[in-house]
Subunit: 133 residues, 2 copies
């Protein structure tokens, strides 16, 4: 596929491709640097942007000022834990979005094409820990 050359790009993608942890650009940088110690942060950004433009990954903005990178490009929602900041995937019935969009178009005089939902609360791990004490 489009990743013909550049070990660096390959390494970036290899790191990201199985992750559901929504790493930041810096997470990617710090990891790939273990294999390519003198890779540049700019290279990481450039390739992440490139891969996104190619439709190979998606970005998640949880509103904390740093973008997360997600190997999954299928439409899904996200959950952010208000305690530890972890970002998790939420996969509701796909037609929920369609319903929401249609519903919104009923009360809004514009054309609605997409919707992104960000849930917040306490993640399973933090909920577990708080019942421990």
């Amino acid at each position: 596929m489009s990743l013909k050359y550049s070990k660096q790009r390959q390494a970036i993608w290899d790191f990201l491709k199985d992750k559901d942890t929504h790493p930041t650009a810096d997470d990617v940088y710090l990891h790939v640097r273990q294999e390519y110690p003198n890779i540049s942060l700019g290279t990481v950004y450039r390739n992440l942007i490139l891969l996104r433009d190619l439709g190979q990954l998606s970005t998640v903005d949880i509103g904390d000022g740093t973008l997360r990178y997600d190997p999954c490009v299928e439409e899904h929602d996200h959950f952010v834990c208000t305690k530890c900041g972890t970002v998790l995937d939420i996969r509701t019935d796909p037609c929920e979005h369609t319903k929401m969009i249609r519903n919104t178009e009923g009360i809004f005089p514009g054309v609605v094409t997409g919707c992104r939902v960000l849930y917040s609360g306490i993640c399973p791990s933090c909920a577990q820990n708080s019942t421990d004490d």
Copy 2:
């Protein structure tokens, strides 16, 4: 109420209080500067943050890297026009969020307390203009 003194803070709030246009900090700065030509951008930021912490306004992140400020603190969604960037309020039936949250808790082993929805598409004004030609 809590706005006892500081003409600057009053001016910031006066500008924002009736707006449904979701101004950025810079929008606020540029406007308040007409009345107080040497107000500092830092002052604008500090007071916007303060007012948010007091629960007097809310912030909206549409993912373009700049935060919007909204005098309305009641829960509501937003719509961003992919053509002109305008941010509009979307007020669906309030129990929709409750339903979404309950629905999500059914498939997610954590505690869900909130959800924010960002719709995107073409705003009424842009939709109008595109049918003109």
